[in-house]
């Protein structure tokens, strides 16, 4: 028996997936404390498992509509961050596929995917997982956490 490798979810209308070992926990209705002077997609700070957790609206950060569901808490080894998503479908053991965007010259990442460093959509690898008729694109969490756009939470003009 093989361990599940990806968590499937939806944020901002996009079917996404992240590696299961990158997720520490999934929270439901996590209380948030808004932080003044931050961007709208930065929802605020929450307390999870006794630790301070900054939560980001992944759909809004990806330029889509705002998400309103559960919060994915990333593993502390990867970084202290939480992402608000719409729906968590579950875990999947399916293998990844390479989408057509691979030929676009993207940089290959972990698991055979590619990571684009240009804009929010650059954190979406061309690797996908087919589950229940949906193609979940795997998010490059390392690239995302290192992205300047992600790190720049200060609101414009502040």
């Amino acid at each position: 028996m093989s361990a599940p490798r990806h968590v499937l979810f939806e944020a901002g209308g996009l079917a996404l997936a992240v590696p299961a070992d990158a997720v520490q926990a999934i929270h439901d209705e996590l209380p948030l404390q808004r932080v003044e002077g931050t961007r709208p997609w930065f929802l605020g700070l929450a307390v999870a498992d006794g630790r301070l957790l900054p939560v980001t609206d992944l759909g809004a950060w990806l330029g889509r509509r705002a998400s309103g569901g559960r919060t994915l808490q990333l593993h502390v080894d990867l970084g202290i961050a939480g992402f608000r998503v719409d729906v968590v479908y579950g875990l999947s053991d399916a293998d990844t596929d390479v989408s057509a965007e691979r030929d676009a010259g993207a940089v290959a990442g972990k698991g055979g995917g590619t990571v684009s460093r240009e804009g929010p959509d650059g954190v979406l690898t061309p690797l996908t997982i087919d589950e229940d008729g949906r193609q979940h694109r795997i998010v490059d969490l390392a690239g995302l956490l290192q992205s300047p756009e992600f790190l720049d939470i200060a609101a414009a003009g502040t």
């Binding site: 599940p4 968590v7 926990a25 875990l91």
Partner: protein
């Protein structure tokens, strides 16, 4: 002349009265003388028969000087005579007492009586002679008067002779003669006769005109009687038809009354049925309200189930979340175990048993996660099913409640309509009862009216007969009028021979004869025309 005649008659009367007085006086004297003589004779006879103390009449008579003695003797004689003779003696006694009262003797009284008798006789003779002379003179006067009167009468006869031929224009001359009064009376009588003839002629003309008008009226009356009889006959037929119609109407009214009675019964039955329906509807309404309340409670229970389902969902979600986290932990543990295994393969110092234990714990956690996930799925599925069922139940309950509300409204409306129908049926029943009574009364009245109409039809027949009789009577009256007209004509013919003086318009050249003839011609023509008209009518 009359005054002279009156004076002459007055003088003749005086003479007759005087002669009669004298004659009466003479007769009285004679009677008295005879009585005295008879007294004297009776006295003498008494004395001759030998009664003593009786004085002879001659002695008494001769001794007139002794009036007192004579009177005494006379009185004694009278007393005796009265006792012996009776009534004569009584008269004598009376005379003797009268003479005694007058102081006269019987002899003197006899002389006076004789003298008076002689005087009266002489006066009577003279009166008789005078009367004879006067009678002769009167006879001569009467003879002349008779001749004058005869002449006047002949003249009067000559004047009134045309009257015999009907000429009323004659007029007698009124003169001083004895016939003057006759002429005056004759003229007055002729005037009256002239007025009478004129009146008769005018009356005959007016009678003719009246007869003509009466004949015309009779003709119209006959026509009217005919029309009346025809109309009465027609009305009688109408009345007969009306009587039949009213009889049919009465029959129909009776049938209507029977139907109204049935209608009343049906209305009563309908009212009872509607009352029962109202009661049933009331029960159904109560049951429907109970069902509605139950359905509302069911909906409320469904809501409670939804709340419980929400709790189950929350549990399922939490379970799912727990399963996810467990799975993630298991995956993380498995990944850690693989990494440890790789490291063990690379590091010879690691114990293979620990790696195997780590993989076993990760597998158990993964199975536990899978089991929790399945439970969460089952719980979620059950919650969804329950939610679906609850939603369905609530939806059905809501639909049922709405349907029951609609049913309640319909029931309330139906109940109101049923109560209204019940009230209407009660009104119908009341009206039907009144209608039944009215129809019954109408049937009775119609029946009575039918009898009245039949009686009226019979009376119309009687009236028709009376009209026919009236027509006959009018015909007879017309005949009587004809006879009356003939009588008027005969009356006019009777006075036609009389000639009247021209009236005031005699200057127009129309004399009375012509006018009477013209009136008679008009009367005859009018009578003939009216007769023809009546005959044609």
């Amino acid at each position: 002349m009359n005054g002279a005649r009156t004076g002459e008659d007055g003088r003749g009367g005086w003479r007759r009265l005087a002669s009669r007085f004298l004659l009466g006086l003479t007769l009285c004297a004679l009677v008295l003388s005879l009585a005295v003589l008879q007294r004297a004779a009776s006295v003498v006879e008494t004395r001759l028969t030998g009664s003593a103390g009786v004085v002879a009449p001659g002695a008494g008579t001769g001794q007139g000087t002794d009036q007192g003695a004579g009177a005494a003797e006379g009185a004694d004689a009278e007393t005796n005579a009265t006792a012996n003779v009776g009534p004569i003696v009584t008269l004598d006694g009376a005379i003797a007492r009268a003479l005694g009262a007058a102081g006269l003797t019987l002899s003197r009284l006899a002389l006076v009586c004789l003298a008076l008798a002689a005087l009266a006789t002489a006066l009577a003779w003279w009166l008789a002679l005078d009367s004879t002379r006067r009678r002769e003179h009167r006879a001569r006067l009467d003879d002349g008067r008779t001749r004058r009167e005869q002449a006047a009468i002949l003249s009067l006869l000559d004047e009134i002779a045309p009257l015999a031929s009907g000429d009323l224009r004659v007029r007698a001359t009124v003169s001083e003669a004895m016939t003057g009064a006759l002429a005056d009376a004759f003229n007055h009588a002729v005037g009256e006769l002239r007025w009478l003839v004129g009146t008769i002629d005018g009356s005959a003309v007016r009678v003719g005109q009246a007869v003509t008008e009466s004949r015309e009226s009779a003709r119209r009356l006959v026509g009217a009687c005919a029309v009346q009889a025809r109309e009465i006959h027609r009305s009688s037929n109408y009345l007969a038809s009306m009587s039949e119609t009213m009889a049919q109407l009465s029959s129909h009214a009776t049938e209507s009354a029977r139907i109204a009675t049935v209608s009343v019964g049906e209305a009563e039955a309908g009212g009872q049925a509607i009352q029962e329906s109202v009661q049933r509807l009331s029960r159904i309404r109560d049951e429907a309200e109970l069902a509605t309340r139950l359905m509302q409670r069911l909906a409320e229970n469904a809501n409670a189930i939804d709340e419980r389902v929400e709790t189950i969902r929350d549990v399922a979600r939490r379970t799912d979340l727990l399963a996810l986290n467990t799975t993630i932990r298991a995956a993380a543990s498995a990944a850690s175990a693989f990494e440890d295994a790789d490291m063990t393969a690379d590091d010879t110092f690691m114990d293979g048993t620990q790696s195997s234990r780590g993989r076993s714990a990760s597998g158990d956690l993964s199975r536990l996660s899978d089991e929790v996930t399945r439970l969460a799925d089952l719980l979620g599925g059950a919650a969804r099913d329950i939610a679906s069922l609850s939603r369905t139940i609530r939806q059905d309950a809501d639909d049922t409640v709405r349907a029951m509300d609609e049913t309640n409204r319909e029931l309330a409306s139906g109940l109101a309509q049923a109560e209204q129908a019940s009230g209407s049926l009660e009104s119908i029943e009341s009206v039907s009862r009144e209608l039944q009574e009215l129809v019954r009364e109408m049937a009775e009245k119609t029946l009575r009216q039918s009898g009245v109409v039949r009686q009226l039809s019979t009376n119309m027949g009687v009236i028709n007969g009376i009209t026919s009789d009236t027509s006959d009577e009018v015909q007879a009256t017309a005949g009587a009028l004809d006879a009356l007209n003939e009588l008027a004509l005969e009356l006019r013919d009777g006075v036609a021979d009389f000639r009247l003086p021209p009236p005031a318009r005699a200057a127009d050249g129309v004399d009375g004869t012509t006018e009477v003839a013209a009136n008679r011609a008009v009367t005859r023509a009018a009578t003939r025309s009216s007769v023809r008209a009546v005959d044609h009518g």
